[in-house]
């Protein structure tokens, strides 16, 4: 049997796709939780992370250091979630078939409905909701939140302050005596 060998330039893709898959697999759980906390709906979270994964791959060439994938991808997830929140005006979609029911079957929905504080967070404006999720649910430092949101530290502090104040107002308004 005779054959021949060919050498061509395409290996960059193999390496990139391998690195992408490996990095994305390492981050997908955190990304899913973060999206779920922000969006309050498992299906929405899954769709958001899917969108983020696609965006991440499309922008992979802009990522100079694959080791920095985590924070970079988290930023993409947050941006996707923010877009979704703004598009949906913070309203949670309800299955038409289940329109008569108010119970949420997913874990993020039950978190919002079962916990007064989480429910109050879900009623915050998108930017406030995101900063709360990153700071307290994703447990990032203020500096990390600023990096993720690509905002000055002062802006993050201010946003967090107003978010907490809005939360307190909401909780007090609902009769909570925290």
């Amino acid at each position: 049997m005779e054959g021949h060998l060919i050498v061509t330039q395409l290996d960059a893709f193999e390496g990139a796709s391998y690195q992408y898959v490996r990095a994305a697999r390492a981050e997908v759980n955190d990304a899913y939780r973060l999206a779920g906390y922000i969006l309050g709906d498992a299906t929405e979270a899954q769709d958001a992370v899917q969108d983020a994964l696609v965006k991440a791959w499309r922008n992979w060439p802009t990522l100079r250091d694959p080791e920095a994938f985590g924070p970079w991808f988290e930023r993409i997830v947050v941006n996707v979630c923010r877009d979704r929140l703004r598009r949906h005006r913070t309203l949670r979609m309800v299955d038409l078939d289940d329109a008569g029911e108010v119970e949420s079957p997913d874990i993020f929905g039950s978190m919002i409905e079962g916990d007064e504080v989480a429910g109050a967070v879900a009623r915050l404006a998108p930017d406030h909701r995101i900063v709360i999720a990153l700071r307290f649910w994703r447990d990032l430092t203020l500096e990390q939140v600023a990096e993720t949101l690509d905002l000055p530290l002062g802006t993050v502090k201010s946003r967090l302050h107003y978010a907490l104040r809005a939360l307190r107002t909401d909780l007090k308004g609902s009769g909570d005596e925290a």
Partner: protein, 573 residues
């Protein structure tokens, strides 16, 4: 003015916030994890090559076509193609004109090659995972692989690439599959390529029992680069992954390897591809070893007939790489890759010819468009052609199948039993041509539907035995279907426009929603449809925000291949 929070109040609120998430930390759904693997295949990246988008099928196809192009085919007269117009037979290859077709079982299989007692490949199951599989006759595939066809010595997982045979020695470069925590694996040739450092050489002296060959000389094997040059096995290595220099190793027995020469191109950032050739090849030694480098300043290519000395190849305008062997008429026939400098874009393959194998010109007769693949069977060349440059989702017509009986000077459509041109993918399978459905370039291989052979084909190597697995010992990846029912799955995927149109009708979308619709092709199990079934689908989403308190989001899932609506999810707020 609202009073500011004091520190105690703030601490309490923060504590409540942190507590609220306790017990609500689910892992990502399996479908989402598996989705990751599909992204590099289905989604274009900013700097990705058009050719690469279709990885692995198209890229492999290009190298396959390059191998096939060196085939010698006996010139035969062009006979009229038999066209039996029968709508029931659409998609069924037409018998006649020397062709006979055998129904395959529709398995998703990437065939590594022929071994002593059958064929070995990597099969994709309904859940999307991949496994070593085997077939006694090429038409019915079994997972796990039949131990009478492939038997592995030692604990290592055998995940073969192309299988090369010389005399009684079989070689293949294997790789380590990418497996998730649940044990589902993807071959390195799929969406998750294995780094070069994890490739291994496997050897068999009987075409049945395989053992791994460990040698320091083989460290850094790249790709599936394994072939035959000047009567010796040839493999390419590089000193380290992605860097350093490359070497050409040769071996007579597959056990002892020595450096024959240094590669005249730098291996970094290059894919090094090898082809094992095919049963019907050009005159021995006339194709040799072709290596190319495609820097931004322009492509450079060398050829070697002995793996030691190298001669510069002259390429025609627009062709970045060309290689082929001498045919029976004394001229050289090969395939070239047409693209811009550096392969930043790839249009597709072209048939090239040469009087010496070094200076090439494009000449593909009346064959339209661009080659994706070309194989030979009997006295025919069979080509898989797209009519427009290769690009992601550029064509919904799939690849059309053409045949030539005169070394590629003139081409005729290969017709199905209704007289329509076949669309799909073609590969070599022993002395036959394997015809795959699912021809769109998103699917790497598609389902093996038919095996075609020619009456004038001399059997190359009939399996000495065709031990098929008993149902209790193994299971076929898909049940056999009776002849001559036409394929259930059409070879074409529907276009984005059609997907949106179908979805709009199904979801009663408004014109505004249609205008703002998003549609993407995804591959995954249908978790959104409560069905565990991996397939390619269009996911079309219509979104309307009617006001601060109302909106609608309708998601329609459509089978990418058939256009049938799988599910509609209408959400209102």
């Amino acid at each position: 003015m609202k009073p500011e929070m004091d520190d105690v109040e703030l601490a309490q609120l923060e504590l409540r916030l942190r507590k609220s998430v306790v017990g609500h930390a689910p892992a990502a759904p399996d479908a989402l994890v598996r989705f990751i693997d599909t992204v590099p295949v289905t989604e274009p990246a900013a700097r990705r090559l058009s050719l690469v988008h279709a990885r692995p099928g198209v890229r492999r196809a290009f190298f396959a076509l390059a191998a096939a192009a060196v085939l010698v085919v006996a010139v035969a007269g062009t006979a009229a193609l038999v066209t039996i117009r029968n709508e029931q037979s659409r998609g069924v290859p037409a018998a006649g004109d020397g062709w006979s077709w055998q129904r395959a079982d529709g398995t998703l299989v990437s065939v590594s090659g022929q071994v002593a007692h059958g064929f070995v490949g990597i099969c994709t199951s309904g859940s999307g995972s991949e496994s070593l599989c085997s077939s006694g006759d090429g038409s019915t595939w079994a997972v796990p692989a039949d131990p009478a066809i492939v038997s592995v010595d030692g604990p290592d997982q055998f995940w073969p690439g192309l299988i090369v045979r010389s005399g009684g020695v079989y070689l293949t470069i294997g790789s380590t599959p990418f497996c998730n925590s649940t044990g589902d694996c993807l071959a390195s040739s799929a969406a998750t390529p294995t780094p070069v450092s994890s490739r291994q050489l496997w050897r068999s002296t009987d075409g049945l029992h395989w053992s791994r060959i460990d040698s320091p000389a083989l460290a850094g094997l790249v790709g599936d680069n394994l072939g035959m040059v000047a009567g010796a096995f040839v493999a390419l290595v590089q000193t380290s992954e992605g860097t350093g220099t490359g070497s050409v190793l040769t071996s007579v027995d597959g056990l002892t390897w020595s450096t024959a020469s240094q590669l005249p191109v730098r291996p970094d950032s290059f894919i090094l591809e090898a082809l094992s050739g095919s049963p019907a090849v050009s005159e021995p030694g006339t194709a040799g070893l072709c290596v190319g480098q495609l820097p931004s300043s322009g492509s450079v290519e060398w050829r070697s007939l002995d793996a030691k000395t190298w001669a510069r190849v002259t390429l025609p305008p627009g062709i970045q790489f060309a290689c082929g062997g001498r045919t029976s008429d004394g001229t050289y026939l090969g395939t070239g890759i047409e693209g811009s400098v550096g392969l930043s874009t790839v249009n597709g393959g072209r048939i090239v010819r040469s009087s010496d194998g070094l200076t090439w010109r494009v000449d593909q007769g009346n064959l339209p468009g661009y080659l994706l693949d070309m194989v030979s069977v009997g006295n025919r060349l069979v080509a898989e052609v797209v009519d427009s440059p290769v690009s992601p989702l550029a064509s919904t017509t799939g690849a059309s199948i053409w045949e030539s009986a005169d070394l590629g000077h003139t081409w005729q459509p290969l017709l199905d039993a209704t007289g329509k041109q076949l669309h799909g993918r073609v590969r070599h399978l022993g002395d036959r041509v394997a015809f795959y459905s699912g021809s769109d370039r998103l699917i790497s291989w598609g389902r093996l539907e038919w095996l075609g052979s020619r009456d004038d084909t001399q059997p190359v190597e009939s399996p000495s035995a065709t031990p098929s697995s008993t149902p209790s010992a193994s299971h076929s990846t898909s049940p056999s279907r009776p002849e001559p029912t036409p394929p259930v799955t059409p070879s074409l995927g529907i276009s984005q426009a059609d997907a949106i149109r179908i979805a709009a009708q199904e979801a009663s979308a408004t014109q505004e929603e249609i205008a703002g619709a998003s549609a993407m092709v995804v591959y995954g199990d249908l978790w959104w449809a409560d069905a565990k079934d991996y397939r390619w689908v269009w996911k079309v989403i219509f979104t309307t925000v009617a006001g601060p308190t109302s909106g609608r989001q309708a998601t329609v899932i459509i089978d990418y291949l058939t256009g049938s609506v799988i599910t509609v999810r209408d959400l209102y707020a």
